[in-house]
């Protein structure tokens, strides 16, 4: 199963990655190989196996609705490259 160059570009765009032509070729090969490997799973007959959604715990423990202290502003913003007025500052966002 081989990915098209356009598919590789689309995936890169979704992941916000800018790839060189050389990388596109390389990742196309690698991603295709990964898909081929995973595709082996398709060979299994799972008709009688109920679908599952991840996790080793079969049932989810729920949490009581009780607020607990959050991070201090200093802790929260400690690693922010830019901050202003107690908020993360980021490059301008336009719709």
């Amino acid at each position: 199963m081989s990915l098209t160059p356009q598919e590789v570009e689309h995936i890169a765009k979704l992941a916000r990655l800018e790839l060189t032509d050389e990388q596109k070729t390389r990742y196309r090969e690698q991603l295709s190989a990964i898909l081929d490997y995973v595709a082996k799973l398709q060979e299994l007959d799972t008709a009688d196996v109920p679908p599952t959604a991840g996790g080793s715990v079969s049932q989810m423990p729920l949490r009581a609705d009780e607020p607990r202290p959050s991070l201090s502003l200093d802790e929260l913003l400690a690693n922010a490259s830019q901050k202003q007025d107690g908020q993360f500052k980021i490059p301008p966002v336009f719709e």
């Binding site: 049932q59 991070l71 908020q87 500052k89």
Partner: protein, 479 residues
């Protein structure tokens, strides 16, 4: 053109579930219109690596309340999924939502419009988390994550609405139910409910669905109405001119009152949904669902029907009372306090109590005047102890002083006088003082009786029983 095209509208409603803590972490849910930025943020809702989400039980309970109130089928096992996209208000780079197998499906909501009642089907109800808030400044944007991770319920209708009026009625009915269920304040200004309107139009009388557009982030009923109406008009014109509608995502500009394109189909979001690996299946016990079902309050539509049937109220009065659960409760508490006419109590609440409370910037239900106190006032008026006009003044005084009606009437000597001798004397004097009017009445100008009645009432300082005055006036004039 007006009736050549029929609109087809489906709504997605996002409602915050106003729990105490967030959906997947224990940070407090704060009112983000007043809280200082970033005071309720932890490594989980900030999307720090190595953290794990844990589901808030009450958020699930609230969501189930809504699902059951809408008559949905609950999926006893549902799945959380990752919805992947990049936007700075989404710290993890994905939103935990539900995709395949949502919490509940196949519900319905009955709406009321000028055309009567109509059932709007609800396709699905699922739980997810809210995003943070961006503030755009000159040279960048600021990110406040207080809202990030607040439980959010998405309620998706089928495209069953055929007019803007129906869309608005659906949105309003849903808000009313959310408030009745006490899962959401319904405070639109605070952005706790948001709409997305999916609009297409088709030739009237046809059944197939045409290409639709999505109008995102509508924060008020007005925006919902205006934006949907704008799109219907725009699409009708395009089709009438032989054009085609592009599938796209639109925003709504509240100022210019126009929709604008945010995304076309070519770069439509590719969310790459997949089951959330950090969360096991959400398994819900049947017993829990039944417990919640049994604890649901009487819902607005049922209450409305009961008020009309049981108390003989007009649809108008019943509608106004039922719009707020607290007001409906107030009404019934007043009836419980004293044996008074339900219609009278309803009229007093919908009319004067609303007006007085409104003026004081309060709501009728949490006003100074308790239901028992209002019932006493109604008893005094209906029993003829004071007249209607005096009653209105007494209510204002009750509101200001918190004193009971009886005490005010007593202290101010407001009791209505029905004593025939007293009234007969007043009427006699009135006629003697206004000989011209009395004469013209006898000459056939009967309308002048209203003037004479007013004079007599004034003479009695408003305390005379108007029915007795009227009768006496007619008796003396008719001689």
């Amino acid at each position: 053109m007006p009736n050549q095209y029929e609109p087809v509208i489906g709504l997605e409603v996002h409602a915050e579930m106003q729990t105490r803590s967030k959906m997947f972490c224990s940070c407090a849910v704060v009112d983000n219109t007043v809280a200082e930025p970033n005071i309720a943020v932890c490594p989980v809702c900030a999307g720090m690596p190595g953290t794990l989400p844990v589901v808030n039980q009450r958020a699930v309970e609230y969501a189930l309340r809504v699902a059951l109130a809408l008559g949905c089928e609950v999926n006893y096992t549902s799945i959380f999924a990752r919805k992947n996209y990049f936007y700075p208000d989404l710290p993890k780079g994905y939103q935990i939502s539900q995709y395949e197998t949502p919490l509940a499906v196949n519900g319905q909501l009955t709406i009321k419009t000028s055309q009567g009642e109509k059932i709007i089907r609800v396709r699905r109800v699922h739980l997810e988390e809210d995003t943070g808030k961006l503030t755009h400044i000159d040279n960048g944007s600021l990110v406040d994550l207080n809202r990030a991770g607040v439980p959010l319920l998405e309620i998706v209708s089928e495209p069953d609405m055929r007019s803007v009026e129906e869309a608005k009625a659906y949105a309003e009915a849903l808000r009313e139910i959310l408030r009745y269920l006490e899962v959401n304040s319904g405070d639109m200004e605070k952005g706790v409910i948001r709409f997305e309107s999916n609009v297409s139009v088709r030739a009237a009388g046809t059944e197939e669905f045409n290409t639709r557009v999505e109008i995102k982030n509508l924060n008020s009923f007005r925006a919902l109405e205006r934006a949907s109406a704008f799109e219907i008009e725009r699409q009708s014109k395009v089709l009438a001119a032989g054009g085609t509608i592009e599938q796209e995502t639109l925003g709504w500009n509240d100022v210019s009152e126009k929709t604008y394109s945010q995304r076309s189909k070519e770069d439509a979001h590719d969310y790459r949904y997949f089951p959330e690996p950090d969360l096991p299946l959400l398994v819900i016990e049947k017993d829990w669902v039944e417990q919640i079902r049994a604890s649901l309050p009487e819902l607005p539509r049922a209450k409305f029907q009961r008020f009309v049937k049981e108390y003989g109220l007009t649809e108008y009065a019943a509608g106004v009372l039922v719009a707020e659960r607290a007001v409906a409760d107030y009404f019934e508490a007043a009836l419980k306090a004293k044996k008074v006419s339900a219609k009278s109590v309803a009229n007093w609440i919908v009319g004067d109590l609303f007006a007085v409370a409104n003026q004081a910037g309060e709501t009728a239900a949490n006003s100074q005047v308790q239901p028992e106190a209002l019932a006493e006032l109604v008893e005094l008026v209906d029993g003829g102890v004071i007249n209607q006009t005096t009653g209105k003044d007494v209510l204002i005084e009750m509101y200001q002083t918190g004193k009971p009606a009886g005490e005010i009437v007593e202290a101010k000597g407001l009791k209505q006088v029905s004593d025939v001798d007293f009234i007969s004397k007043i009427v006699g004097e009135t006629l003697a003082e206004n000989p011209k009017e009395a004469a013209s009445y006898k000459a056939g100008k009967t309308a002048v009786v209203n003037f004479l009645f007013g004079q007599a009432m004034k003479k009695a300082a408003g305390k005379a029983n108007p029915t007795v005055v009227k009768a006496e006036l007619e008796r003396q004039l008719g001689l």
